[in-house]
Each structure stands twice: as C-alpha cells, then as structure tokens.
C-alpha cells in the first residue's frame, strides 16, 4: 500500500515542474491560426495536410477519437479550444460524427465529408472531389469547380459557394485547402 507521505514530494515536484513549464516558453504563445481535426483512421491525411499548410501559419491538430474518452463536458471544452483559431478544418466523416450537434463560431472547412452535423456561425465550406454526389447536402447547393490554384483567387466567388469540387487530376486536395489558409479565407 502506497502512503501519501511517500508520494507527496513527487506530486509537489510534478506540480512545480508543470507550472514552470507552462510559463517557461513564451515564444510559442499566441493564438492558433488553424485547428485541423482528424480521426486516427485518417492520420496519414492529417500529415499530408499539415505538411502542405504555409509554414508561417500556427496549426494545432486534434484527434476527434479522444472525445470517446473525454468526460461529459469534453465536447464543450474541445469546441472552446477550436474556436480560438481563425479557421477550423475537419477531415472526413468520423470527426463530424463525434462533434454532432455542435455549432462553431469560426469559419469551418469540411474536407471529404457530406455530413451536416457541425454548423458554423460564420462560414461553412465543403471541399470535395469532383464528381461527388451532393444530394446528401440538400437542394440549392452552390458549387464551384476548382482545377487549379488560380480558380481560388477570388475570395468573393468562394464565399458565394457552399462546395468546392476539386479536380484531383490537376490539384491535390491539401493544396487547395492550403491556398485557402494562405489567403486567410474567412479569418
């Protein structure tokens, strides 16, 4: 049986270490620009996107599978974390399911998912492969075909769209999203 008197010095040292650690690296402080939300299943995609994003942009990633073991206010805590960024990028279906019923305050870019469960008070833009059946998103969806970076030059035109359909023969998905981040779309 472990006595507290034996653990106490370790606990105190750990606490002091963590507090010092918290305040010891001010260089990394500052607002997150982009939150990239993924699931363990799409770890490879996360790496591709993170690598493609501009280097001067501060990116944080979040594995949405963690919500399965978070306590009952875990989703609210995660949302408050995401909303500190300018833009939130969600990759694929699983994170959309895990965050079902939530409403983000910031611009939301949804990549390769037709799910509607996560809303945004600002902008919500779907990025999908060319040829994707859009019927799940309902009627009146405004779409824009994108074959090159040049097609993403006009922010007004993108804002007038609900979906960007990417021609993957000429443009990679992560390059398209990276370009939106670079032009600070929806910040």
């Amino acid at each position: 049986m472990m006595r507290f008197s034996k653990i106490r010095p370790l606990l105190i040292k750990t606490t002091v270490f963590l507090v010092i650690l918290s305040f010891s690296t001010p260089a990394v402080w500052g607002a997150t620009d982009v939150y990239l939300i993924y699931s363990g299943k799409n770890k490879a995609d996360k790496k591709l996107f993170k690598k493609a994003f501009p280097k001067d942009i501060k990116i944080k990633t979040y594995n949405a599978d963690l919500l399965a073991v978070a306590d009952y206010s875990g989703i609210q805590k995660a949302i408050s974390k995401f909303d500190k960024a300018h833009v939130i990028v969600i990759l694929n279906d699983r994170p959309m399911e895990m965050l079902k019923g939530t409403r983000l305050k910031k611009t939301l870019i949804i990549v390769q998912s037709l799910k509607k469960e996560v809303a945004s008070e600002n902008l919500r833009l779907y990025i999908l492969k060319e040829g994707t059946d859009l019927s799940a998103l309902g009627e009146g969806i405004r779409k824009k075909d994108v074959a090159s970076i040049n097609d993403l030059a006009d922010e007004k035109e993108i804002r007038a769209s609900d979906v960007l359909l990417i021609d993957e023969k000429t443009l990679e998905m992560q390059q398209a999203v990276s370009q939106l981040i670079k032009m600070k779309f929806g910040w």
């Binding site: 963590l18 650690l21 010891s24």
Partner: protein, 433 residues
C-alpha cells in the same frame, strides 16, 4: 451548504488567480462558454419496506412506495479559457427538486502540448494535468452520467452500489463521484487502428470516520418490530461533504482505455486503492472493466466491478441489541456488480428525431457475509425514449428488482412490507443545451 459555498468560492479564487497571473504576462485571451442539461421525472416504485425515523421509532418517514415527481438534476457547465492551454472549469448541479447545489467539479487544467513546445503531441501523445475537484476516472459511467449521454434514467448497479456515482439508501447526497485531487491524462495513437488513453489521479478517496465504511442505518417499520439495521447498501462516500481527507493516505485511481479508430468501440480497465478510516489502516481496493460499442442505430455497453473492503470484525456500529446479529461487521469482505445494456433505434424519421428501445440487466452483491441484505439482487430494465425535438427526449422505463435469498429475510423486513420483487415505472423528460 457551507461546504458547497466554500468549494464554489475556492473555484472562483483559483480561476481568478490564474486569470490575473496570465493577464499580467500579457496573455489573457478570455473565452467563456456555458452549456448544461436537466430532467424532470415521475417514479412510482412498489415492494419497498416502509421506514421510520432513525432517531424516533414513532415517526414514519415518507413512504418509499409513494410516487414522486422531481427535478432530479439541472446542471450548468462553465468553461473559461484562461489562456492558450489553460482552462478553468466548473459544473454546478441543482438536484433533489433544486434544494441541493453541488459543484460536481471545479478545476484548472493545463494542456501541456498547447503551452509548450518541449512536449510534442505528435510524437509523445497528448498530456494534460488537472487539479481541483475532479470527476473520479473510474469505469465509464461516472464520466458519462448525464442522461443525454445515456439511454436510461436509472443508473446501473455498478454506479449505484459500488463506484459511488449515485448514492443509495437514506444518505442521498447528489449525483456524480467527484473528489479533490490531481489527475494526469496521457493518450497516444497506436498505429492507425487504435489509441490508448491513461488517466491517473491522486484523490482524498472514500472515507468514513466510523468503525465500518458502509455505515448507513435505517429503521424498519415492522409494526411491533422497529429495529435499527444496516442495509449494507454498498460504497457510500461519507466524506463527500468534507473539505479535507480524514487520513494522510491519498487514494490512487487509474483508468486505461483502448479506443478503436475503425469501429466506435472502447474498452477500459479501472483500478482504485486507498484507506478509508481515520487511522489509515483499512483499505478499499476496486478493479473494474468497461466496454462501450456505440453505433449510429444501436449501442452495447457493459461494466463489471469488484471491491474488497478491509474492516475490523465483530464491531456493531448501530448498537440495537435486537438486531446485533444483522449489524455486526464480519471482517474483510468483497462486493461485486455488473451490467449489460443494449439499445436499438427501429424508427428514425429525420436526422435528429427517433425512437429507441433499451434493455438492461444488472446484478449486485454488497453482502459482507451477512445472512441477508436487500442489496444482493438482480434487476431487469426495459425502456424506450423518443427524441421528439432536437435536444429533448421523452423517456419511459420499467424495472423489476429480484432480491436474492429472500427466504432468509428477517421477519421485520417482511413485516415492513419488503417484497422479493420491487418494481418501478419512470417517466422522464430530459433536455440539454
């Protein structure tokens, strides 16, 4: 209420101190969020023994078989983003028809990779440190107790009689098992197929200043027989309202969970150990396993837990000569409980409107080798819920408890109206926002 107020004040003071500290360093980015949930329900049990006041054998208590309508819980969650990676969080719960207010948790959390580059989450995994009044990371139910995260209103026996998420018997003191302490939470991806999550906490732990941990006492209303007896209702945290531990021995709690990324399945192992008495000589040790498989249209959940309680044999904490044989402790003993629960949605008529059917089976034994205890029982629960609008559900459930070894029940229990089978109907409206 004084303790409750003290805890709230402590939460506010700690949050304020961190805010001031970070603001003075030029890094305060205030962000505040509120959400919550609540429920109102009607319950109509039958088959329970009638009781008298513990201190007055001539005064009957409210008949436990009378139907009741109550606001069982109304909780508000407050989260304050103090700074990048620093979160202050508190939950205030109004329970028992809003006559009790409990801070279920009040803590500060440091998200280590958010606040320092020294710890790289991509290679080392996520790491957070939480300190204050925290939810005890034991089994799955306690961290998922709000009814919008569950399919039934009633709590499984694993959370009712062993892990003290909801207390049973006469000392009902609110919902949720929380305690003062600190917790480290580390998680790491295991390839593409799974990840592992480990929570380790040091808390004050379960406690009781009396000679036995399970010291609940009731007085049966058996006509001429009105004995004071220990119902042995299981683990109750008698120290819940204390502001400090009753001994110098902190309890250790750990939960290790594996989460599949291919299917919505998580399986975990929980462990608890700590002394409960003032001298720190007697331990409670618990081990448990949980499983959650949560598909879109069906769910399967289960928990199993066993507890070993050390106590001195031959002690009668009640002192009623007529019931000494029932009340005297029998030394160290084991308890166990388990449940399995399945649900299925046969009707879904929009993305957020559906009808769900639920079936659960529980079994519990809190018997410290006494001849009979009413908490050696099994239960079957059948329920349904209808999400009729977004974020609100109507629930109905029926449950039947069967007491084991009822032929050994003392005459006073039977005379008080205690039956082998207890049934209950529950109708509830739940909401969350």
């Amino acid at each position: 209420m004084q303790n409750c107020a003290k805890r709230i004040m402590l939460g506010i003071i700690v949050s304020s101190m961190i805010t001031v500290a970070t603001a003075s360093l030029g890094n305060a980015e205030e962000k505040f969020q509120i959400s919550g949930y609540g429920n109102v329900h009607y319950m109509d049990p039958s088959g329970m023994p009638t009781l008298l006041d513990v201190d007055d054998a001539t005064s009957p208590t409210e008949n436990p078989n009378d139907g009741i309508t109550q606001i069982r819980e109304f909780s508000l969650f407050f989260d304050f983003n103090v700074s990048e990676g620093v979160l202050a969080s508190v939950e205030i719960e109004a329970g028992s028809n809003a006559t009790t207010f409990t801070p279920n948790y009040a803590y500060v959390e440091l998200d280590i990779p958010e606040i320092t580059e020294i710890w790289d989450a991509d290679t080392l995994g996520g790491l957070s440190f939480r300190i204050g009044r925290i939810l005890v990371p034991f089994l799955s139910y306690n961290e998922n107790k709000p009814n919008f995260r569950q399919n039934l209103m009633s709590q499984p026996f694993t959370a009712w009689n062993l892990a003290p998420v909801i207390t049973s018997g006469p000392n009902f003191v609110g919902l949720g098992w929380s305690d003062t302490g600190a917790m480290l939470n580390w998680n790491h991806e295991l390839g593409d197929a799974a990840f592992v999550d480990l929570k380790f906490a040091l808390i004050n732990g379960l406690q009781n200043d009396g000679p036995v941990l399970d010291s609940n006492t009731i007085r049966l209303d058996g006509g001429m027989m009105t004995p004071l007896v220990r119902p042995r209702s299981g683990l109750v945290d008698q120290g819940d309202d204390s502001t400090r531990d009753n001994n110098q021995n902190k309890a250790s709690v750990a939960k290790l969970t594996f989460i599949s990324t291919d299917i919505p399945l998580d399986i975990g192992f929980s462990w608890y150990q700590g002394a409960w008495d003032e001298d720190g000589d007697h331990d409670v040790t618990m081990q448990g396993i949980h499983l959650n498989w949560l598909e879109h249209d069906w769910t399967f959940k289960g928990e199993w837990v066993t507890a070993r309680v050390e106590q001195t044999a031959g002690v009668d904490p009640v002192g009623d000569a007529a019931a000494a044989a029932v009340n005297t402790s029998t030394g160290d003993y084991d308890m166990n409980a388990w449940y399995v629960e399945g649900s299925y949605i046969p009707i879904r008529y929009s993305s957020d409107r559906f009808v769900r059917l639920v079936l659960r089976y529980d079994d519990v034994d809190t018997n410290d080798r006494a001849v009979f205890t009413p908490f050696d029982r099994s239960r079957i629960t059948v329920g349904s819920e209808w999400q009729f609008v977004k974020r609100a559900r109507l629930r109905y459930e029926w449950q039947r408890h069967t007491l084991d070894d009822f032929d050994k029940a003392p005459a006073a229990f039977v005379a008080a109206g205690g039956k082998e089978r207890i049934t209950a109907h529950m109708i509830s409206i739940i909401f969350w926002f």
